[in-house]
């Protein structure tokens, strides 16, 4: 079996891949585990595969040896290690797409319900100590537009369907997708924004998707629309979104990702009107994260050994 090096994040108590977990899940023997640079250098020297988070890989990109057959990143988004000029030719890059779906779906369900029930306004009223009724209706029949139809966007659409919502997906090409009533190409995004009572951002961050929700497109949303972001902060022109929220043009937003992270003390985001902030936790389930990541790596490894393309191979020309 090929030798595998596992580089954990030193400060990661939630999703560390331990030797015990590795063995319990049937990981190949001879694996090495490290959390610092010396351990990385020693472990990577004769490894065939590397398993690591993008944040742990980022400082060591220049140290990736040409013999490495593959890198499995325990993250969904590859934007923090792009561009990929450091990646040796012939080394496959794989992501962790799929591990976040169940948890991310429940986050989207919560965000849709909170926005529909005007919780941002009621949370603000509670903070002021004011009894202020907001009578609201159900989600049934409302429309969710998701920018991104990958594992997270699809999980969000399934969450919306639990409550009888209509779902529209926006992806590179307008190929049908079973979790969406309708799919439009990214080039036609503007045509569906006026339908988006709720807009979900669940796309990878690339040069094409950066600021995809800008001031002009925010203005295309229906008055009172709700915005949910579980992708990357830079998908949104953040100041324009804060302006629209503060002006009351949007009903509210539930955001898990920001530019920058962590949000600095005193940043306007902390006090933006009808904004619910969660600190980049929407899709990481500590109960299953490490084990599901290992299982997904082993599925990809098995595919490679059978001579197939691993299902989580990143297309570095696209960035996801």
């Amino acid at each position: 079996m090929p030798r595998i090096h596992i580089q954990n994040k030193a400060d990661d108590l939630e999703s560390k891949i331990t030797p015990e977990l590795w063995q319990a899940l049937g990981g190949p023997e001879g694996a090495s585990f490290a959390e610092d640079e010396a351990g990385f250098r020693a472990g990577i020297a004769d490894a065939a595969y590397l398993i690591t988070a993008t944040s742990a890989l980022r400082p060591y990109r220049a140290l990736i040896p040409g013999q490495l057959r593959g890198i499995f990143c325990t993250s969904a988004g590859m934007d923090s290690i792009a561009p990929f000029d450091w990646l040796p030719q012939g080394t496959m890059l794989m992501n962790n797409s799929g591990v976040h779906a169940d948890r991310g779906g429940e986050y989207v369900a919560m965000a849709l319900l909170m926005l529909r029930q005007e919780m941002p306004a009621m949370i603000a009223a509670q903070q002021r100590g004011v009894w202020e009724k907001h009578y609201t209706s159900v989600l049934r029949g409302c429309t969710l537009v998701s920018i991104g139809t990958g594992a997270l966007g699809a999980a969000g659409a399934r969450a919306a369907r639990l409550f009888g919502m209509k779902t529209i997906g926006v992806r590179t090409k307008a190929e049908p997708h079973p979790d969406f009533d309708r799919v439009v190409a990214a080039a036609d995004l503007d045509s569906v924004l006026p339908l988006a009572e709720f807009l979900l951002l669940a796309a990878p961050l690339t040069p094409q998707s950066q600021n995809i929700l800008d001031a002009r497109r925010i203005a295309l949303l229906p008055k009172g629309a709700g915005v949910i972001n579980i992708g990357r902060g830079a998908l949104i022109a953040q100041d324009a979104l804060c302006d629209a929220l503060d002006a009351g043009a949007l009903g509210g937003a539930v955001l898990d990702v920001f530019s920058p992270e962590p949000i600095p003390p005193g940043h306007r985001l902390w006090t933006t009107r009808h904004l619910v902030i969660t600190p980049h936790v929407s899709a990481d389930d500590p109960a299953i994260y490490a084990s599901d990541s290992v299982k997904l790596f082993l599925e990809n490894l098995a595919a490679i050994e059978r001579g197939e393309t691993p299902p989580n191979l990143v297309d570095i020309s696209k960035g996801y």
Copy 2:
């Protein structure tokens, strides 16, 4: 057809039954509509049925004439017009049970998701302007105990099942219920509280259910449990709940009903730790409230005219 008087609340803009709505839904001709006492006295004099909210009925209880065949209250809980010594013998009292189920179910879904994802702590962190991660898992496999298995409790259980939760119902007698995996009698409540990762209060308020969740029973809940109340505030020993929340014994609470309402300015509820307050709006859907209430009344009227017991008849010996 029998003549019907409809007494609306003067300040009710959300769920008023208008002559236009009444006609559109096929309500019998000759109905009278009023919002003040003079209109009540005039309309009730020769009416066979009265449709009104409990809050609008409360001041006029002594004016109910003996010829009235039935009162249909557009409210689910009858506690504010109990005891029923003012009700003429032979006058049927009916409630609005069922109209709140869809909206109430979405409220419970939101509350379960918010509590599981530790939103009360994250809302507090946002208020302090602090980036404080809370990694949490999904609802699947968690247990909801519902005190009350009526229309609202059952809707809460169905919401829990959407996310793969286990459901235990607590009702007067341990009769099976399709929305609950298991039902126990109220006398056995203590035996299931240690299983209640989430506890829903959705029972009518009666002398038996008042303070049903008291300090002793709060202490039987698992550490970190979440409490949801969509019934009546007085079901809970409110100060004991606030104490448990402030002490960190419970994970959080999402409450829609309180004693008293509105919560007065400066009340400790406003600043209780990990408490989410909504101002008694969890189950009133303005999009359908008035029309569904009329439809439900007409169903009950048709049953009466067929010589059957109307489905929403209140058992005044029980109070619901």
